[in-house]
Symmetry: C2
Subunit: 386 residues, 2 copies
Amino acid sequence: MLNQDDTILKFDIPEIIYGRGSLSKIGQCASRLGGEKVLVVTDPGIIKAGWIDLCLKYLLKERLRYVVYDNVVTNPRDFQVDQGVSLYLKKNCDVIIAVGGGSSIDTAKGIAILATNHGSVHEYAGCNLVHHPIPPLICVPTTSGTGADVSQFAIFLDIREKMKLCVLSRAIMPDISLIDPELLTTLSSELIAATGMDAFTHAIEAYVSSLSWPMTDPHAIHAIKLVAQHLVNATRTKDMTALEGMAIASLEAGMAFSNAILGAVHALSHPLGGLYDLHHGLVNSVILPAVLNQNLNHAMPKYARIAQAMGLELRGMRFEEAALHAPEKVKKLIKDLELPTRLSKLGADAEDIPVLAKMAQKDICMQTNPCSYSINEIETMYKEVW
Amino acid sequence: MLNQDDTILKFDIPEIIYGRGSLSKIGQCASRLGGEKVLVVTDPGIIKAGWIDLCLKYLLKERLRYVVYDNVVTNPRDFQVDQGVSLYLKKNCDVIIAVGGGSSIDTAKGIAILATNHGSVHEYAGCNLVHHPIPPLICVPTTSGTGADVSQFAIFLDIREKMKLCVLSRAIMPDISLIDPELLTTLSSELIAATGMDAFTHAIEAYVSSLSWPMTDPHAIHAIKLVAQHLVNATRTKDMTALEGMAIASLEAGMAFSNAILGAVHALSHPLGGLYDLHHGLVNSVILPAVLNQNLNHAMPKYARIAQAMGLELRGMRFEEAALHAPEKVKKLIKDLELPTRLSKLGADAEDIPVLAKMAQKDICMQTNPCSYSINEIETMYKEVW
């Protein structure tokens, strides 16, 4: 397990531009980074919602040329990155803008890696294996969950091996994250809930991570508070205040986890997502309660603080007692969001548990969980929510 | 007055590397930014303390060549920047490392500006007037106060006009802030106290600033808490836990104020520092109580939160009542630090008040104070602590 004692810690985030209507600044951002021809990476849903038309209008206003790569799907495939980089090179682009959720952003990161480092994304799965600087990269998130716009992570699906490739590299940090909460208004309630639970999981795992520190903690705990305040309302009413709260929550959770890394929820979630091609936020949400129960004894004071951030009045309560409220409050949140709570409901097959558990134990995110787990304990956690 | 409603907000900080012994990474940082020949900017005190010898050893280890500019003094003069940039250009340097307090860092920023933008620092005083990217810049703070290592500000003394030149520009953000709390061990108790009060003032002004937002607030409030916990102990015992607390406080206060900007304390402090060449942290500390009293009615809930961060148990107290504790707690802190509380003690002459008040009203920092002040009201604040 990684530990922060005697470790040199780091905190690195992109330049952040935030506000309703801030999409109008996208052309200036690209110009400022020296761009003349933009590759816009997105998916058909975002095009349909009208955001790409608006984005292209702002690029034209700044006299920028562009090409659009819109073949992104959930859990971006390795071969889609290859398609994207071919387009980038063929059309002589010099800046990349991702407009979308985690999948568009990760695809854009993959394209950026290959544009200057060549080869295939498989070669860069692991820690700091990207050595050459990537082209200027601007991210415009359209969901409030992934945090990919402010992170050093990119996840791809190896379609042949049915497993997730996790690239964690200082070199893939975007230059600018431009967050316009107006873009959340066209998101479905289901996606607001699932991506919101992704942000929530990032915040909780970063907060209890063995690499958390005073740079990451205030953002993690504030993100937890914002999710508790706004997520249910955001899914039910799409009220702008709630959506803005979630936009900030996703941003702060992303800042925290990119620097403190994650934990057992993500370690258990990655192999499942790879094997069954499931929505990442949804899988996290199902697994979270099982991991909370197991981690509880290893991070009592922090779980007490999580319960407090979710609305528990401490009133002199002992922290061991307060900590017990954290899993309860999380379960209540998931129930209020009407999200599934069993992996079998998502189509997972219990026979795969032994294989999944082995992969989960080796996952890079397990290294920063507040405690380590045996294969047996990991299987028990899977079974608890199967 | 600037206001955040309908404003597009931003949050931009350098990459942060933190930890005891992290100075050993300085060579790798410079290499990673493409540097081969370093200009090290520092002052004679830092050389005497032995930190530059150590720094140069780490640069040699990475096979980097270097030149040292060590003619920095408190309140860096415009002509020192000219000397430094001549050296940088003559010796064909390609990266700048500042090792020191705010003066070394601001001198390094000035050198960096002129290296690629030419002319004199006078031309860049104001908002976003630096148009060409500066050379790679790494800051290694040796005080826990200034925040210059993570800010877009640089302040110079125009020696002829006896006034401060304030450069506020996106382009002067350092690339890396490398914070090694070991470097604080050679600081005098007086400097720990005075620079610590600078950090404290940054945190308070950023927190109540009209441009504060959820990205800056958690850092501002955490910095206030850390100063309340650690500053007195740091000055009295130089205990490592207290020094580490102050290193983080200075960092978080810097992150907050660089993005939320400041307020009336700095607006009143700048002209005084310019006219009498006084220590910036010390002047802030003297002025702070007067501004707190005047600002109180314009930011009651925030002052309540400041009092709480400084240790006040709210226990259902109304926020109007809690807010009143903030100025009291600050005065107690200044008393415990045994810092001067009157400007006349620093050698200021009361006849200058009308001139100072006019300059303070026009200071860029006044724009983000929670309320605006007439010349008369500014004079009253000066007189309160004269």
